[in-house]
């Protein structure tokens, strides 16, 4: 695709109170806290920087190895290692603020209280534009069942965080499980945006040594392999008409991969694994998406949202 300089496409998107200059963001855990990449990537060109997940106190990661490459995908078991939300606010946020970019901060916990502490801290922090809750974490008070696998548990958690912040609150869901029911519960509880979704539980074993490839035994699958699973999740949640913008995440490598999410009903997208191998991936993908808009003769990227042609449409 060639990009004609004379064509203008409005690439801006509005995510319930947060306007982005373009719909292509980094994905949590694949771009650190943004500041590490300031010399490699023009942060102002990103739709938003989405940070690595934060917990109330620093958290150690899983034992090595933490990465295994699957077929057209990557399995990771980093273990949500992070220096804690306070460290982030003191050390990284001031630097990030000095760049003209939107900042979405991803957070998680092991208990409802953990989540609320993070939400309150980030609510008070200057320079945080939106809060993204990672719901794919085990609830230690509910026998380790993931918050995001159970609609009522997810709803309670979102409601608690909703009370703790008046900033835009995004809920990042699992791609597997009762996705529409969980999505509805989150929206009913006050989520402003739904992100679909996280990695898919996966495992690989080395047949020679008979050991799991990852120190944590299992991990999460990301990359091209999960793209069609994530597109389908966005599509079915979009059809449920919950009235909030959706963010598509999973296996985006090209502008056309991103376009599939928009056509399925997403307002914006996040790019994870591809950012790991190509720091500037978001910017290239944004450019390819703009070229696609020109080719499709749409003057605003928002016109693509949910514009998948179904039966009977011309």
């Amino acid at each position: 695709m060639e990009i004609r300089a004379d064509s203008t496409v409005d690439m801006g998107v509005d995510l319930t109170g947060l306007a982005l200059a373009n719909p292509v963001m980094t994905a949590s855990g694949t771009f650190g806290y943004g500041v590490e990449s300031k010399d490699l990537v023009d942060l102002a060109e990103l739709g938003a920087v989405v940070t690595k997940g934060l917990s109330p106190v620093p958290k150690e990661g899983n034992r090595a190895p933490r990465i295994w490459e699957a077929q057209a995908g990557v399995i990771n078991s980093i273990g949500l290692e992070n220096p804690g939300v306070d460290y982030f606010c003191e050390e990284y946020l001031p630097v990030l603020r000095s760049y003209d970019t939107r900042v979405v901060v991803n957070f998680f916990g092991q208990t409802e209280q953990d989540y609320v502490v993070c939400a309150a801290t980030l609510d008070a922090a200057d320079g945080v534009d939106a809060l993204e809750m990672n719901l794919s974490c085990p609830n230690v008070q509910a026998g380790g069942l993931q918050f995001g696998q159970d609609p009522s548990m997810a709803g309670r958690l979102v409601a608690a965080c909703r009370r703790a912040t008046s900033k835009p609150l995004w809920a990042k869901l699992s791609l597997v499980g009762p996705v529409v029911e969980v999505a509805r519960a989150c929206v009913d509880a006050g989520a402003d945006v739904l992100c679909l979704g996280n990695t898919i539980p996966a495992m690989a074993i080395d047949p020679r040594t008979r050991r799991p490839r990852l120190g944590a035994l299992t991990g999460g699958l990301s990359g091209p392999a999960i793209h069609p699973v994530a597109v389908r999740a966005v599509f079915v949640v979009h059809r449920a008409e919950l009235g909030v913008p959706l963010v598509g995440i999973g296996g985006i490598r090209t502008g056309l991969d991103a376009a599939e999410f928009l056509l399925a009903g997403a307002s914006a997208v996040q790019v994870g694994t591809q950012t790991l191998v190509e720091p500037n991936a978001c910017i290239r993908i944004r450019d390819e998406l703009r070229a696609y808009c020109i080719e499709q003769k749409v003057t605003s990227v928002g016109q693509l949202r949910g514009a998948c042609r179904l039966d009977g449409d011309a």
Binding site: T30, A64, E69, V277
Partner: protein, 258 residues
Amino acid sequence: MVEFFDATVETVEHVTGDLYLLRLRDCEALASSQPGQFAMLRPRSWQVDPVLARPFSIFRTSGDRVDFLIRTVGRGTDSLVRCNAGERIDVLGPVGTAFPSPSHGPTVLVAGGVGLAPIGLWIDRADDGMRADATLIYGARTADDLVFLDELSQRVAVVVTTEDGSFGRKGLVTDEMVSLLDGCAEVLTCGPTRMMAHVARLAGEARVSCHVSLEARMACGRGICLGCAVPGVAGPLLVCRDGPVLPAGHVDWEQVLV
């Protein structure tokens, strides 16, 4: 400074056994790489599979040319050495820590197999005085796995070991180390993890400073993903940011070898 750029394959030469020499051009950014530093390589042709770039030590540089010494062990390396001249490769580099600048006094270099790569760059970058003070112990399974022996021997003292005795001394690099440690100022090593652990122990027992160049599976190669953590005595170390070259004493060898 780390850069992300695309380079062009100039040649791929089969050296011997499963070893290949990959030469890239348009690599100005790597020209001043320090010994031990590496680059993440990913041919554009990979598209959806393999997904991740692969790390390789910078073996030689010359102007905008860089050579990598590559051992084929799986689908990434297999595919990399089948690249044609002219193919584009995404490169991130130079990344990571380097071997310490030589102090005065004798240096023992210990290379196992393709671990020769960063040691080779150390020898290239060293001046005559440093080379005169250095001894390379270079080990391989068998004679066919040894590469660039002539070139190396012209520049530093070389002791070769092979496990099957088909060339040099029969045995392991560590068998030859002890006698050289007396009066030695520094041990620098790269090779299989088990070998480096042994080298580190011997150096420690002789109270000689030792630096090792570790390996780990990597995704980003730049301290972002936290994927390349290995156990250190004071908590996990990121091989791509804290390493690959680390003081041997910083590594929790017991855990690493599990």
